[in-house]
C-alpha cells in the first residue's frame, strides 16, 4: 500500500521562488491554508544560493529612473521576443519586493547616508542592480527561510525526489515522489500545486549550475501533456572559470573589469562600441567565442581555450569592498589573486530562458487558450516569457520574487474557493496511476540484472551538448546531435542501477534524473534545429540574421512517443514594435 500525504497547497522546489510563494500563502490570514514544501535537497542547499549579482528594481525614480525605462531595457534585451504585458506588471511590482525583503532582515548594501545602494549592470541604462555584498542570492534565500520559520501551518519534506505529475481532466491532482532517506514511494495529493524546480543547465559539461539542476519540472510537465516553450534559448554567461565552469559574476564587469584577448587588447570595442563590456550577455559571449575561433584565445591544459578578464586597475580597496567572493573563488579554484593578475574565463551554460508554458499570470496552460486548473509555475522553470530570447543580468532573482508572490496569492484564492465546495479528489484513479509509476521506477530500473552504465551515457550526452549546441550552432551539427540524442535514449531504455540499498541510493536517483535530462535535451535539439533564424541566445552560422516576418513567435513542444511535436503561438506586443538591436 502506497503512502498518501495530503495538503492544501504543494510547493515543489525550495529556491527563492518556492520559498517566496510559501511565505505569500502564509502571510494572508495565517492558518487557513496548509502548505507542504517538497524539495529534493535539504532546505538551504538549493542552487539559488549561488546567485551573485543582484536584483534589479526601480527604487529611486526621483534620481532619473523610471518604470518605462526598465521595461524598455528588458524588452530590448530579450530581442523583442518577451511578452510585453508581463514585463510591465513585473517592473511595477519590484520595488515593493525589495523593501519587503529589507523589512524581513536582509542586509542590503547601503550608501553612506543609510539608504539602499545600487550599482551598474550589463544591459541596463541606469544603475538599478540592488546588491548585498556580491552574495545576493544567498542572502535572499537566508532571509526567506528565516521568515518562513515564523509561521506554523506548513510542513517540510526534505530530500524527496518527485518523479511524475498527476494531471487528470485538465486539473492538477498531485505528484509521486521517492523518500531518499528510506527508499519508500509516496504520493502527494493537493488541491493546488506550484512548481519551482529551477533550470536545466546540467545538460552541459561546462556549466555554472549545481549537480541537481536537471530540469525535473520541465520534463515532468512535458510527460504529463503540458508543452515546453522556447527551450532552444539557453543563455551562456560570458565569464565562467575554467576548468570547472564556476561563475564569475557579471558584477565584475559592472564594477569596471576589462575583457582582453591574447594580445592584451579590449576586443569589445569591435562588437559593441557604445556599451563595451556592459552589453547584454549574448553579445559578449559571441564576441568572446569569435575571438577564440579566430585564434586570439589562449589554450589551457584541459583542452579549453580562454580569454582574460582584467580587474587589476580597480585597486585593492574597491575589490575587497565590492567583490570579495569572486576573489576567494578565483584564489581557491585557479590559484590567481585578481588584485595582481587577470583571471581566465570562457562562456559557460548558465540559464534556461524557456520552460513550462504559462500564461501572463504564471498559471500553466495546455495551449493558447486552455489553462490547467490548479497548477502554477514560478521562477526559472516558468516561461511566461518575461525574458524572451535573452535575459538581462539581475532580472532572474527579480523574476523569482515576483512570480513567487504572484503564484502564492493566486493559489491561496483558488484553494479557499475550492475548500468551500470541498470536492474530494477521487482515490481510485490516483492509486492505479501510482502503482503503474511504482512499477516503472522500481522494477524496470532497479530490477534488471545486466544493463548500461548510466554515468557513461551522462558523460557522452554532456560532452556532445558542449560541442554541438554551444554559442555558435550550424544545421549539420545540430542534426548530428539530434541523432546522437535519439541513440542515447535507446540505450537509456536498458540502463541499470547497480546499487541495491534502499536508503540514499544515489545511483538510482541519478538514473531517474538522467531520464529527465535526456527528455529536455531532445526538446532543445528539436526546437533549435527547427528555428531557422538567429535571435538572442540562439545564433546559427547558416542563418545569421533575425527574421521577424516568419519567426516572431514562441515554440511549443508537445510530447509524443516518437519525439517532440512542435507548434507555434504569437508574441504579445502591446507597446513597442520590434526594431534593430544595437548597443
Amino acid at each position: 500500500m502506497v503512502e498518501i500525504i495530503d495538503h492544501d497547497v504543494l510547493v515543489l522546489g525550495t529556491g527563492i521562488a518556492g520559498l517566496r510563494a510559501a511565505i505569500e500563502i502564509m502571510r494572508r490570514e495565517e492558518g487557513k491554508v496548509n502548505v507542504g514544501v517538497v524539495s529534493k535537497v535539504a532546505i538551504m542547499r538549493s542552487h539559488s544560493v549561488g546567485a551573485e549579482g543582484g536584483t534589479a528594481a526601480v527604487l529611486y525614480p526621483e534620481e532619473g529612473d523610471s518604470f518605462e525605462l526598465h521595461a524598455w531595457d528588458t524588452v530590448k534585451g530579450s530581442d523583442f521576443l518577451a511578452d510585453q504585458d508581463v514585463v510591465f506588471d513585473f517592473v511595477r511590482a519590484m520595488p515593493r519586493e525589495i523593501r519587503l525583503l529589507e523589512h524581513w532582515g536582509l542586509p542590503w548594501s547601503r550608501r553612506p547616508d543609510g539608504r539602499i545602494a545600487q550599482r551598474p549592470f550589463g544591459g541596463h541604462s541606469f544603475n538599478r542592480a540592488t546588491f548585498a555584498a556580491d552574495k545576493t542570492g544567498f542572502f535572499e534565500m537566508r532571509t526567506l527561510y528565516d521568515k518562513l520559520l515564523e509561521y506554523d501551518n506548513w510542513e517540510r519534506y526534505d530530500e524527496y525526489l518527485a518523479t511524475s505529475l498527476i494531471i487528470e481532466d485538465g486539473e492538477f491532482k498531485g505528484f509521486t515522489a521517492i523518500n531518499q532517506k528510506t527508499g519508500d514511494f509516496v504520493v502527494f495529493r493537493g488541491l493546488a500545486g506550484i512548481i519551482a524546480t529551477g533550470g536545466t543547465s546540467q545538460m552541459y559539461k561546462f556549466g555554472t549550475t549545481a549537480v541537481g539542476v536537471t530540469g525535473d519540472g520541465v520534463a515532468m510537465a512535458y510527460r504529463a501533456g503540458i508543452p515546453a516553450k522556447d527551450m532552444e534559448f539557453l543563455q551562456f554567461h560570458p565569464t565562467g572559470l575554467i576548468p570547472s565552469g564556476i561563475l564569475l559574476t557579471e558584477g565584475a564587469r559592472g564594477e569596471g573589469g576589462h575583457l582582453k584577448n591574447k594580445n592584451g587588447e579590449r576586443f569589445m570595442k569591435k562588437y559593441a562600441p557604445e556599451k563595451m563590456e556592459l552589453a547584454p550577455r549574448d553579445i559578449v559571449s559571441r564576441a568572446m567565442m569569435r575571438e577564440i575561433l579566430e585564434g586570439r584565445g589562449v589554450e589551457h591544459w584541459s583542452g579549453l581555450e580562454y580569454v582574460y578578464i582584467d580587474l587589476t586597475h580597480l585597486g585593492e580597496e574597491r575589490i575587497k569592498e565590492r567583490l570579495p567572493l569572486i576573489r576567494e573563488l578565483v584564489l581557491k579554484f585557479q590559484g590567481i589573486d585578481i588584485i595582481s593578475e587577470p583571471a581566465l574565463v570562457r562562456p559557460t551554460a548558465h540559464y534556461t530562458m524557456g520552460g513550462i508554458h504559462t500564461g501572463s499570470n504564471y498559471q500553466a496552460m495546455f495551449d493558447d487558450k486552455t489553462y490547467v486548473r490548479g497548477l502554477w509555475a514560478a521562477g526559472e522553470v516558468a516561461c511566461a516569457s518575461l525574458h524572451g530570447a535573452n535575459r538581462l543580468g539581475t532580472n532572474s532573482t527579480a523574476e523569482c520574487l515576483y512570480s513567487g508572490a504572484l503564484t502564492g496569492a493566486q493559489a491561496f484564492k483558488y484553494v479557499l474557493s475550492k475548500k468551500e465546495k470541498r470536492a474530494n479528489p477521487s482515490s481510485t484513479s490516483i492509486t492505479t496511476f501510482a502503482e503503474k509509476e511504482q512499477k516503472r521506477i522500481f522494477e524496470e530500473v532497479l530490477g534488471r540484472e545486466r544493463g548500461e552504465d548510466p554515468y557513461e551515457i551522462k558523460n557522452e550526452l554532456r560532452e556532445m551538448m558542449d560541442r554541438k549546441f554551444y554559442v555558435f550552432r550550424t544545421g549539420e551539427e545540430m542534426a548530428e546531435g539530434l541523432k546522437k540524442i535519439k541513440e542515447l535514449k535507446e540505450r537509456y531504455r536498458k540502463v541499470r542501477a547497480s546499487d541495491r540499498h534502499k536508503e540514499f541510493n544515489y545511483n538510482w536517483l541519478h538514473v531517474i534524473e538522467l531520464g529527465f535530462l535526456l527528455d529536455v535535451a531532445e526538446i532543445l535539439a528539436t526546437s533549435a534545429y527547427a528555428r531557422k533564424e538567429s535571435r538572442g541566445a540562439h545564433y546559427r552560422l547558416d542563418y545569421p540574421k533575425r527574421d521577424d516576418k516568419n519567426w516572431l513567435k514562441h515554440t511549443l513542444a508537445y510530447h509524443t512517443p516518437e519525439g517532440p511535436r512542435l507548434d507555434y503561438i504569437p508574441v504579445r506586443i502591446i507597446a513597442w514594435k520590434p526594431r534593430e538591436r544595437k548597443y
Binding site: 553612506p112 532517506k181 549537480v211 547497480s498 546499487d499 536508503e503
Partner: protein, 281 residues
C-alpha cells in the same frame, strides 16, 4: 608538497546497517583536484554504492561537510594538494546520527536553529506588511552584525564543539551565533524574548570558549566571537535592563532629477491596468 603526487589513497569510514569498516580506494590525481572530485570519481568508476551529499561544487550550499584528516571541512572547498599528504581519511561528521556512509541526519540541527526565533521581530505590523521606505542602517551598524549572516548551515561547527558531544540539549554554536545576529541587528526589537531563550541552564552558559567552532568554520563566521558577545549582552541586560532604540525609516527623497535617458515612444495605445485585469479574469 615537494614531490609530485600521481595517485591518492582515499580511506573512507563506511557504515551500513550498524556495521562499520574502513574502505580504501586509489584515485588518479590531476592539478587542482578537490576531495569532492575524488569522491565523484569513486562513485562513478570504482564503487557505485558510496553515498555522500554534494550540490553546488563551489562552497556556498554547505551539503558536503565531512571530516577530512581529523578536521570537519567542506569537501568541495578542500584542495588535495594543500593537505600536505597523499592519504586522505574521510569520516562522517561527529555528533550527528549516521544514516549510511558519509550521510548524516540533520533534522535535530535545523530544529535547534528554529528554537532561537531567527527572524526579525518588530512591533509596527502595518509598516512591515506594506513597506513605504527602508529602515536606516549606517555603515558602522552594518559592520556590527554582518559577519554572522554569512552562515551556510553546513554543520562543521557543531561537529567540532566539545559541549555538543557532552550535552544533548545544548543548542550548538550555529544556533547561538544566529541568535546573536538578530540581537545585534539594529532593526530588531525582540531582544527580551531571545535573551530569555538563551539564558538557560542548557543554553549559552554551557559554552566554555574552546574555540573549535571558529577554527573549522569554512566561511569565517566566527561563532565563538558571537557567543562571547552574547554572554556580555546578557550580563549587561541582567544588570542594567536597558537597550538602545531600534532603527527608523529613512525620510523621503525630495529632489526630482530629470531623466537622463528616455525609452523610445510607445507604438500602441494601452492601459496596463485594463490589460492585466482582462488577462487575469
Amino acid at each position: 608538497m615537494s614531490k609530485e603526487i600521481k595517485e591518492v589513497l582515499v580511506r573512507i569510514l563506511r557504515t551500513d546497517n550498524g556495521r562499520s569498516w574502513w574502505a580504501e580506494y586509489k584515485v588518479p590525481f590531476f592539478e587542482g583536484m578537490t576531495v569532492l572530485d575524488a569522491l565523484n570519481y569513486i562513485r562513478e568508476r570504482l564503487d557505485n554504492t558510496l553515498a555522500f551529499r554534494s550540490h553546488c561544487r563551489m562552497g556556498v550550499c554547505g551539503s558536503c561537510a565531512v571530516v577530512i584528516n581529523g578536521k570537519p571541512r567542506l569537501a568541495c572547498n578542500t584542495q588535495i594538494a594543500r593537505l600536505g599528504t597523499d592519504v586522505v581519511e574521510l569520516k562522517p561528521l561527529y555528533n550527528f546520527p549516521v544514516i549510511r556512509d558519509l550521510v548524516v541526519d540533520l533534522v535535530d540541527f535545523f530544529n535547534k536553529h528554529r528554537r532561537m526565533k531567527p527572524y526579525l521581530i518588530r512591533r509596527d505590523v502595518k509598516e512591515r506588511e506594506e513597506p513605504t521606505r527602508e529602515y536606516r542602517v549606517t555603515p558602522e551598524e552594518f559592520e556590527r552584525y554582518t559577519q554572522f549572516t554569512y552562515c551556510i548551515m553546513c554543520g562543521a561547527c557543531v561537529a567540532a564543539c566539545p559541549t555538543v558531544s557532552a550535552d544533548n540539549l545544548y543548542p550548538g554554536p550555529q544556533a547561538l551565533a544566529q541568535a546573536y545576529r538578530y540581537l545585534a541587528d539594529p532593526r530588531d526589537e525582540g531582544w527580551e524574548e531571545r535573551l530569555r531563550i538563551v539564558d538557560d541552564q542548557h543554553g549559552v552558559w554551557r559554552c566554555h570558549f574552546a574555540g573549535a567552532c571558529s577554527y573549522v568554520c569554512p566561511k569565517g563566521v566566527d561563532p565563538a566571537l558571537a557567543i562571547q558577545l552574547l554572554k556580555k549582552e546578557l550580563f549587561k541586560y541582567k544588570l542594567f535592563k536597558r537597550r538602545k532604540k531600534a532603527s527608523e525609516i529613512v525620510p523621503p527623497l525630495g529632489v526630482k532629477a530629470p531623466s537622463k535617458k528616455q525609452p523610445p515612444p510607445f507604438d500602441y495605445e494601452f492601459n496596463i491596468e485594463e490589460v492585466i485585469k482582462y488577462e487575469r479574469e
